[in-house]
Point group: C2
Chain length 161, copies 2
DNA sequence: CAAAGATAATTGCAAATGCATATTATATTG
DNA sequence: CAATATAATATGCATTTGCAATTATCTTTG
């Protein structure tokens, strides 16, 4: 046996099979969010929206006037994908763009009234999925869960956003 | 004001802005998993893998010989996308397929030795991201977090898998 | 303060995705 | 038990995605 193989062995990294899929948090989170997003997609399609477009509206409904680069972080949508999603939202009159006063390379994005009402029509369905997800989970447990998520985001994020 | 408008108002559905992005669990989960998957993608690309291919290998490394339909649920990959991901894994010798004995429409998928060692080469990187994600989060809190995730999966899943 | 390096956003292009449908086989039912 | 419905997988095709390159602007540095 080669020395480095021995080293690797003694590092004792548990295998996925040992942890078990059902105990591996990233797996569970992907499963849950996969279902959540899929359930949403059906509703979105009927409104001419996609996940990137919905996420943009959702974020802007809370924090309006973001720079595109920051929106990309908040909405978890890759820059070029977002650029095209915004083109469509603009064409549909759901957002407007405005050059940044400080930096003429940058663009700020604002949600329009039509954009807000579009998101408001969608929200009950999103809230419904959210409620279903946390069905029978007590408030204290939810709060603890969210607190852990916030720590996790702090651990993985690259931007200070 | 129309009666149904009044009804909707009295339902008192909190808005996303009231909950706040930073307290909205689906948002946080998408942010965290978006980063996790993106971090992984770089590593995957260098090994000629994609997320669907990696997920297939990950699941098969734990539960071998699944039917394609079940693998699709476990791996959270849409059926036609999975079909093509498996084509590639097969071409690369990382899995093999075998017709099901009971049902001649169905196919079972098995991971090969090459597939296992491919996943094993990837695992340290996945485990590293996992560790980083839970950095400074005590074991009890992790365990509680996973327990909540398991309840949530029970709430949202459509299959009994 | 000019040159080189970084950054914001868009766009070309090849690859990936997912819906709808095709194909083959099994289950159900009148 | 023929006819019909349902199920498992694959594939055609239009759309979406994301990397890389581009354009325009800002920042840093010798």
């Amino acid at each position: 046996m080669r020395p480095d193989a021995l080293a690797a062995e003694s590092a004792a990294l548990p295998r996925l099979g040992e942890i078990g899929l059902a105990n591996f948090a990233p797996y569970l989170m992907n499963r849950i969010m996969g279902r959540y997003n899929e359930d949403l997609r059906e509703e979105l399609a009927s409104m001419g929206l996609t996940i990137p477009k919905m996420r943009s509206l959702a974020v802007l409904s809370v924090i309006d006037g973001l720079l595109i680069r920051d929106l990309s972080v908040y909405a978890v949508v890759e820059q070029s994908t977002l650029s095209r999603a915004l083109d469509q939202l603009l064409a549909d009159g759901l957002i407007r763009k405005s050059p940044d006063a400080e930096d003429s390379r940058a663009t700020r994005v604002f949600i329009t009234d039509a954009g807000r009402s579009s998101f408001e029509r969608l929200w009950p369905s999103m809230a419904g999925n959210y409620a279903k997800m946390f069905q029978d989970i007590p408030d204290v447990e939810r709060a603890q869960f969210v607190a852990t998520l916030q720590k996790m985001l702090g651990n993985v994020r690259r931007h200070d956003i």
